[in-house]
Amino acid sequence: MSDDELLATHLQELRRGTVVLACLLVLIRPNYGYALLDLLAQRGFSVDANTLYPLLRRLEKQGLLTSDWNTDEARPRKFYRTSAAGAALADTLSRDWDQLDAALRILKGAS
């Protein structure tokens, strides 16, 4: 494995859980897969489409997202929205993130 691949793997590992949190936070306002991909990329969460699309379905199956087919436009799209359970999880995860961040700062200060 080359150094670049190794770096990519580590970054991916580090970011894996944050994509879930980002989705739950962003989808308080309903949105569909492709637009979400764009939106996340603009906010600094570059995530692959082939990771995001299955992830949305998994979160929906876990009851963290709800979905509706919006047929108002010419192209019907599946809109996802964070459920109450999803919002609660987002809260918990955010708090955990803050604690991790604080802990990391202390580690960096201590060294």
Binding site: A35, D48, A49, T51, Y53, K78
Partner: protein
């Protein structure tokens, strides 16, 4: 609808369970169309835009693996090592024996050596294929069933005793090898045994009991020892022993007209009855010791 997108969607859906397909297809097609439109608006031609969008989406196999909500493997990492070990042990130990036995009987009948070699090779290939198929099936079922049983929280108490576990792995291998060899013997060289066994199909009862008994051994090795399992194991080995003892005692087992030296049939019969009695006693003792320990 362009054919490249169609092919991509088909390649993805092909790997998914039927009930998931309709909804995923609708969503996936819209997502691809959105991505293509974006690139066209930015100035790309439709053809290259489609290629770029699909390239970005990546290998359909990976996408499908993300969507699938079930294991996409026959035998998972939990039992994979045991599976390869069992398979290679069986192949290495049983296949040469079967080939040698087949060659021996062919040579005994004074067939031409080319026929003997061909028969021996054929028997080896048949045996190897059977071993591969049934071992794979057994471990695939085992993998599914162990994934379905709820995990209890693990404590160090659950660690196996090293020597006993090793001994039992050896026992398991030995039992399997013996069963496969006996089955091969029963099916390949019927001369020495009573024709009654084959005419009535009773030989299959023996094989079925052997397979069942081996099944309980596998269950004992991989699953937790429980009372129903213990009872099932005793019933199976008890039934096997009883059937063996009965068939031997009533002279339904050996074929006295086929080359057994004079007087040996009586001894072999007595030996088989003794073996049956011993395995019966062992099954009962085994059940009690395990029940007391647990």
């Amino acid at each position: 609808m362009s054919s490249l997108t169609d092919r991509y969607v088909q390649a993805t859906l092909r790997r998914l369970p039927a009930r998931q397909r309709t909804d995923i297809e609708r969503e996936l097609r819209v997502s691809i169309a959105d991505a293509v439109d974006d690139r066209v608006e930015a100035g790309d031609d439709p053809g290259p835009a489609e290629v770029a969008a699909l390239t970005r989406l990546g290998d359909p196999a990976r996408l499908a693996a993300g969507y699938a909500d079930r294991p996409l493997q026959l035998i998972g990492p939990a039992v994979f090592l045991d599976y390869t070990r069992m398979l290679s042990t069986l192949l290495v130990s049983v296949v040469p024996v079967v080939a040698a036995v087949a060659a021996f009987f062919g040579a005994l009948d004074e067939k031409p050596w080319l026929t003997v070699a061909g028969d021996s090779l054929g028997a080896a290939v048949t045996t190897a294929v059977h071993i591969a198929v049934w071992t794979t099936l057994a471990y695939a079922l085992l993998d599914r069933s162990s994934a379905m049983t709820p995990r209890r929280s693990w404590t160090p108490d659950a660690l196996p005793q090293p020597p006993s576990r090793r001994a039992r792995w050896g026992e398991l291998i030995a039992e399997t090898v013996i069963l496969v060899l006996v089955t091969a013997f029963l099916l390949l060289s019927p001369d020495l045994l009573a024709p009654w066994l084959y005419d009535t199909g009773f030989v299959w009862v023996f094989i079925a009991l052997g397979v069942l008994s081996l099944g309980t051994s596998f269950a004992r090795y991989y699953l937790r020892w429980s009372l129903p399992l213990a009872l099932a194991a005793s019933v199976v080995s008890g039934a096997g022993a009883a059937v063996l003892a009965w068939a031997a005692a009533t002279d339904h087992l050996l074929n006295p007209d086929s080359g057994w030296p004079a007087g040996t049939t009586a001894w072999v019969t007595a030996g088989l009855i003794g073996l049956a009695a011993w395995s019966l006693v062992q099954a009962v003792v085994d059940t009690f010791t395990h029940a007391r320990r647990s």
